[in-house]
Symmetry: D2
Subunit: 354 residues, 4 copies
């Protein structure tokens, strides 16, 4: 039986690169040889035991690779093709998918929240030499020749999520937008707001490095929450509140500040993953009658989403490679987790090359 190396979750606070069985493609599936992947903040939550997955699982959900094997029923592809696969792998054929809610994919009669997130969650993930891709017909996106792996790997999750935050916020030409937290997702949300025609973008964080990158990704003004009352400042700069506030961290503080930064009738587009209690201060919400909207977004996936995002990169609309600050081999992945987890050395995203 063929083997491969993979980063296996052992249990709280322990991951280890091990030899494991190489996957084979069943009907409707594909196996890709992973050429580039990365580590997501969600992977940190898993390793820290904050998000439960089964010990023994290979983690990671951002794969670029080359098709190694195609299962029965997958057409229009060939072994050797270079592909990008989104973090979310919708089946396209269930009730959720046929309703256009691909991220909430669930095969059965009922629905299962965030059912479209499988890699490194309910099935083996991308931090490995080989990856089994379910629903391959709906999820293998060919990479145009002129794009490198590095140019597309961040589209699998953070760009799709960050842009999704801008899209769910229904940003319009001329909007004033504020983005709370300028980590990888927030930086992509900033870029997404710019892409959609926001006329004025305020980026907020407490890390100078990230604020500098926020400017590069499209923020007109950056605010350090350690220095200013960001809500008051957003209200002042926008003349009465932002049209859209994007939350990209997942804390009470950022959620609440985002809400308080809105004009009446504004939209809070929330991308963060929350734990514990989340409060809506009723006065910040105009007691519920301010015509506010709160929208949430799980990373849109599927091959068409990936194709579209690659077109955005291919035509030079966005360049995410500055976010890939460090590179490691798969065998060095524990180091990479340490660096990424501790936010050392100005790290934003790490490239992992199996």
């Amino acid at each position: 039986m063929a083997k491969m190396r993979a980063n296996v979750f052992q249990g709280k606070n322990t991951i280890r690169v091990e030899e494991v069985e190489r996957p084979r493609a069943g009907m409707g599936e594909a196996v890709i040889r992973v050429t580039l992947t990365t580590i997501c903040g969600t992977d940190l939550h898993i390793v820290r035991g904050e998000y439960p997955v089964k010990p023994g699982l290979i983690i990671g959900h951002e794969p670029v690779g080359v098709i190694e094997e195609l299962g029965a029923g997958v057409s229009g592809y060939a072994v050797g093709m270079r592909v990008l696969v989104g973090a979310i792998t919708p089946c396209g054929q269930c009730r959720a998918c046929l309703s256009g809610q691909l991220s909430q994919c669930g095969h059965g009669e009922g629905y299962e929240a965030i059912g479209g997130w499988r890699f490194g969650n309910t099935i083996n993930g991308a931090q490995a030499e080989y990856l089994l891709v379910p629903h391959a017909q709906a999820n293998l996106a060919k990479i145009p020749d002129e794009l490198t792996d590095e140019q597309v790997v961040l589209l699998a999750d953070i760009a799709s999520t960050g842009f999704g935050g801008a899209e769910s916020g229904s940003i319009k030409i001329g909007d004033a937008v504020v983005v709370f937290a300028q980590g990888p997702i927030g930086l992509c949300a900033t870029a997404g707001a710019k892409l959609m025609g926001a006329s004025f973008i305020i980026g907020i964080d407490g890390d100078e490095n990230r604020l500098a990158m926020a400017r590069r990704m499209g923020a007109d003004v950056v605010l350090d929450y350690r220095d200013v009352d960001v809500v008051a400042e957003v209200q002042r700069l926008t003349g009465g509140g932002a049209d859209v506030a994007i939350e990209a961290l997942g804390t009470q503080a950022t959620f609440e500040s985002a809400l308080r930064s809105l004009r009446p009738g504004g939209t809070l587009s929330s991308l963060g993953v929350y734990s514990g209690k989340l409060q809506i201060p009723y006065e910040a919400f105009a007691a519920g009658i301010g015509d506010h909207r709160i929208v949430t977004t799980l990373c849109p996936g599927g091959k068409e989403r990936m194709r579209r995002l690659m077109e955005v990169v291919r035509h030079g609309r966005v360049d995410l490679t500055p976010l890939l600050t460090h590179t490691f081999s798969l065998d060095q992945i524990t180091e990479a987790y340490d660096l990424f987890g501790e936010r050392m050395d100005g790290v934003l995203k790490v490239a992992i090359k199996p």
Copy 2:
């Protein structure tokens, strides 16, 4: 100086019908002789001191009447015309109004939340013999001859709000909808869900009288929260969660149950006016990544909204007169407040005839 009788807020827990000065129409304004009005739950909050307005204010915001005087610059109307005026009176010419957010109307450079709500809030209201209508050009809606005052008075606020909850929830043909609380607003939300093509509507309350009325307004199933675990029952009846949940009370319990009743990707349309802390249980919210939406709505106003709602009634789509359970004269209005406040005698809405 001409006088009139009006219900004047005196301070916490005190209202009194008094002789006060009759209003005169300035530029862009109109005065109507009120022929029918009603009492809203919001008026109760005011009287109880839960929502602050200035003592000396005439309260009430649901007017039907006859044009008595037209100020300069108001055209297309004549003294003697019978009109309905919405609870919310947008100017049509400010930043909010020109953005289509009429309820958040605010004249100045900045915005003022719920700025479109003036009657019985920032200016004198409708529980009086005469009423001064600001921005009359945008707010006087002629009543078709074939409709009685009773048929249209509830359109000014509760129908516009209740239907608005269904509209903000973007209900589609085939949706399963649950409406939490079947007071006047909730009953109209139920009727609104029916109007928009919801295939299955569940009405929830703890009052048998109201549950019976919910059926009449369009609920397919009604649940008494005193008898069943409503969240579990909604999940069961809908096969995995409602597409849209409408909250029509303004409490933590109804808000939270509405959220828990949703399918992944569902919409919580909130109509209630909240006070105190409001919590979003993170697990009910799929930790923020369930593609949920929470939308809030303040009663849509303006003459075009009123015209449209009157068309709905005129063509027999909805009949709200069963909600008008009692009738009082203006001089009996304190009795009417007592009955309405104590929910005695199966009261839903009271008609007040000045």
Copy 3:
């Protein structure tokens, strides 16, 4: 090799019920034993040679049946289940489907217009004892026990299309809507407009029988184009033009009248299949700057669409059985085509029982 009887297109003006090979289910496919089907206007176009299909093709695209065989990879179903399959059978996994445009489904890299319409067009259809269903996972919709075949068969095409015309028109509560032509599709569009909250619906046709049925399906007023200038009358009845006009025939006359019936900023929702030249009279179009919209719709398909429409019927929102005016066996199908084609005996739709 097992045989079955089926209605086979022989070439222009000739169809014949023949013994042909019974289909077998391949991977991802299913075979159903057809228990009820019907004849569509499109089938007439095919038989008359107005829409080209290959001789030898079994025609028909509105199937109700019982699962006979399930191919590999189809899960959640069992032989013997009663199912409804939409006229359009999206794969769920191509670029069009993943973009939410299920009717324009196309497997390849490029798109193929109306690619989702396969039955009786590019593959064998439903006027047969057995039917091969492609992309079965996305297209088999279980029929609730309480619904009969007759209650659901018209959902496969005409109700999905007719309601789709109302949906594409974005009908809102309070809209005035006019529906041009009250054949089966137009009658369903009328019902769809009612379902979505149109306050006033005008049905137009030249057949008294159909105008009577239009009233039953929700029209408030019906106009016979032989008696009145329908455009002028719509303009008069709506006080300046309909918000939405639905075209349900596919002729220059109905298209043009629909456009002329609109208010500025109104929407023409076109359902007809046009042949020959179609003109937009520029003055009816305000020379192109009247903020008009023209939208077209091909029958929405897929199992979720069918599930939703069955819910609409199950909860009594719409009853389409009055449209099934005649019943024939498969062997009598040529008679049925004659009756349907000649519009004899007040026929609207015929039930075909294999």
Copy 4:
């Protein structure tokens, strides 16, 4: 009586700068001293007798100026303020405006198509020393100090229209867009498509100068219709058709090519003003069942629209000054019309300084 100089339409093919009476501000109106204006293609149609206006009318509808006089009831402004006024001046208070269709503004009970276009159409226009602004409260947009007249004058019409074409087309991140004709409106549509996140923009024209400017405004590829079969080339470059095609000329040829350039389910956003017959080739339209949309847009107006567009310019998202290729005084305006009408000397837009 105070006098002023103005460009007065005398009748077909004759305009003349004359001394006329200076306007005074009535209730709800304002008078501005015009500091910059321009000539629009529509003005050419008027002068050529192709669009009828009354002789004696001052033409022009793109004003930048300084408030000279404020009528009663206009608040929040002061004499001496620098303002931009849109080409379309909605009242904000009629049925159309309160429905959000500001360009179709009509005061009366009924609607009047393109009723919001008043300047140089139904009332005196901007090619004059002074201009009377109706509905001033809704239409005076203060210009930020840091912006020059030249930076904002093109927002009044061509940018609002061009961007409007992109907005009505509902352009999304990743869309492939083609813009037919790269005159001033088309160039702004190109810029608008870029602003909204189109990943790939094709600009089409037959003038090299304009194609070069199209690249500067955001086109990735430009095609000269004299050299290539543009429909085939768009189909090839987009891999099956554009998501959105914008028509910015108003001819059968551009309309038809735009339609033929679309993928199934694509949107044709039409900005042109058509005269004579307009045909929809049925096969380009998939016989009416390709899920195509055709949307039209009249320049959005009102002060909030102008404020938003000025924010776009202020934050450097778009620079339209390269389109202002020539400058003339009001007294030289006949020369300016000649140059603009003949498209001499690479002219795109001319600045007129009264």
